[in-house]
């Protein structure tokens, strides 16, 4: 089976203040259809860079990036990136409804567009705020608007760059569960970048840890926890705790010592 989105022997080198900086080297990752894969790594490890390359926002310096069978050059059809900074990603002069319509309004009739927008807003539970401007909403709601904007295009792949990184713990947990439900409902493939170990283990089918500089994949771990997952019961399971333990170790934490980095 062809993976939905993949990279092979990927290298990324970016210009820095003192010569080129090697960010990624030899990264090979294949994400299957409807799979939820998290990319973990410490701050500055190149997680976001990897996602930007997969999303066609940054060209690879070496190796190949493919979406289905096509080499990626620019954002591929059906692949939408959701950014962490929702405030700068939404258009403040458009209402929630018109923000969600942004990606589809040129491609379909008005009634079809309205149906799609309603559908996407219902999935994130914001249908009753459709006429609001996004900056009148809370951070969590704004991020849901951005997710709805991506969902309205009915993407095959969602690339999410620390989407809940700027939100408080309670909002984060509720959005994680909402994302879980949406993914189950739509069968969307998700690549999810985060620095939150619990979040990655809780949400993923598989997670990879970026390690080193330039970074490659240091650990690739299947997460066979049963679905649907639950914030309390799943996180109390011994296998959840065991997986969490292994990920922390892969990130360089050692039991009995204060965290480094």
């Amino acid at each position: 089976m062809t993976p939905t989105i993949s990279c092979d022997d990927l290298a990324v080198t970016l210009p820095g203040a003192s010569g080129p900086v090697h960010i990624l080297r030899g990264v090979t990752l294949a994400v299957e259809k409807a799979e939820f894969v998290s990319v973990l790594g410490t701050s500055g490890s190149g997680k976001t860079t990897l996602l930007r390359v997969l999303g066609g926002l940054l060209p690879a310096s070496g190796g190949t990036v493919r979406c289905d069978d096509t080499a990626v050059s620019g954002p591929p059809e059906g692949v939408v990136t959701v950014f962490q900074d929702y405030a700068h990603s939404l258009l403040p002069w458009r209402t929630v409804r018109r923000n969600v319509a942004l990606g589809i309004e040129a491609k379909m009739s008005k009634s079809e567009r309205d149906d799609r927008v309603d559908e996407a807003l219902t999935m994130v539970g914001l249908l009753d705020r459709a006429a609001e401007y996004p900056w009148r909403l809370s951070g969590g709601m704004q991020q849901r608007v951005q997710i709805a904007r991506a969902l309205a295009t009915r993407p095959r792949v969602l690339l999410m760059d620390e989407p809940f990184g700027a939100l408080d713990a309670m909002t984060k947990a509720s959005l994680q569960d909402q994302l879980q439900q949406v993914q189950e409902l739509t069968g969307t493939t998700v690549v999810f970048v985060t620095h939150d170990v619990e979040e990655a283990v809780y949400l993923s089918d598989r997670l990879v840890v970026l390690r080193g500089s330039p970074a490659d994949i240091g650990l690739s771990l299947e997460i066979p926890l049963p679905r649907p997952r639950h914030q309390i019961t799943t996180k109390e399971r011994p296998d959840y705790l065991e997986l969490r333990h292994r990920v922390y170790e892969a990130l360089g934490h050692t039991v009995g010592e204060p965290a480094r980095g």
Partner: protein, 258 residues
């Protein structure tokens, strides 16, 4: 204009009325003793005379026509040129030095030049108003075109066409800045039209002011000053009102809510 009535500041208004009353008092009691300083009542009388003999409306119409024509042309040219300068890097590189030099030239210095080029005509006034308004509109449009990079990436991942990115992201993102440029441009084009009327084309409110001064009619002269002031305030209000109507979302999101 609901916002205007809400924003009327009672205390501020009282101070204004008091100041006018004080002025009247000081002139009448000759505490302020200038030969040609009229009391507010004399100014009101002058205003009535100018209105009755038709001089005022004629002059006002002339000045408004010149200032607004120049301003509107500057709006079109400034937004178009500003978009190109803001979006096309090489154009910006090549023209920046010339723009900086021209911008630094005080606009008033351009008035005698325009008189020489276009004669004592309304064209002179329009050219001066155009030139004056062009700079704030142009520079604000260029700045406004520096769109938040993340918004452009959002357009890219949603696979918007280049035209759609310009029309749906860049221009709306620049609207609030462009409106600021238009407001600044309108006030300077009015000022420079008046200057052109004083030293160039003998018509309009600027000339009326000079003429009444030279005819030793301080009441009418102050009335002309008063009309000029009110015109500036009304024009600015009209531009803001129109912008809020036409670009509701943009103005609201930049904190200029109605």
């Amino acid at each position: 204009m609901v916002s205007l009535t809400k924003r009327v500041n009672l205390l501020g208004g009282a101070v204004f009325v008091l100041a006018i009353g004080l002025w009247e008092l000081l002139v009448r009691t000759s505490v302020l003793d200038f030969t040609y300083l009229p009391a507010p009542t004399a100014v009101a009388e002058g205003l009535g005379e100018l209105f009755a003999n038709g001089e005022l409306l004629g002059a006002l119409g002339h000045t408004l026509f010149a200032a607004l024509s120049g301003w509107a042309l500057a709006g079109l040219a400034g937004v178009a040129a500003g978009s190109v300068l803001g979006l096309v890097r090489p154009v910006w590189m090549y023209s920046m030095a010339s723009l900086e030099a021209l911008r630094a030239l005080p606009i008033v210095a351009f008035v005698p030049v325009a008189v020489l080029l276009f004669g004592f005509s309304v064209q002179t006034e329009i050219m001066v108003a155009f030139y004056a308004a062009l700079w704030p509109i142009l520079l604000n449009t260029i700045n406004g075109m520096r769109t938040e990079p993340r918004m452009l990436e959002s357009g890219a991942v949603l696979r918007l066409s280049k035209a759609a990115v310009l029309w749906k992201i860049r221009l709306p993102g620049a609207t609030a800045m462009i409106v600021v440029g238009l407001r600044l441009g309108l006030s300077v084009s009015l000022v420079l039209t008046l200057v052109a009327e004083m030293v160039g084309n003998p018509a309009g409110l600027g000339f009326l002011l000079v003429e009444k001064g030279q005819a030793l009619q301080p009441g009418q002269m102050f009335a002309a000053v008063f009309v000029i002031g009110v015109t500036g305030i009304v024009l600015n209000g009209l531009v803001m009102g129109a912008a809020r109507l036409a670009f509701r979302g943009q103005m609201a999101s930049s904190g200029e809510a109605a």
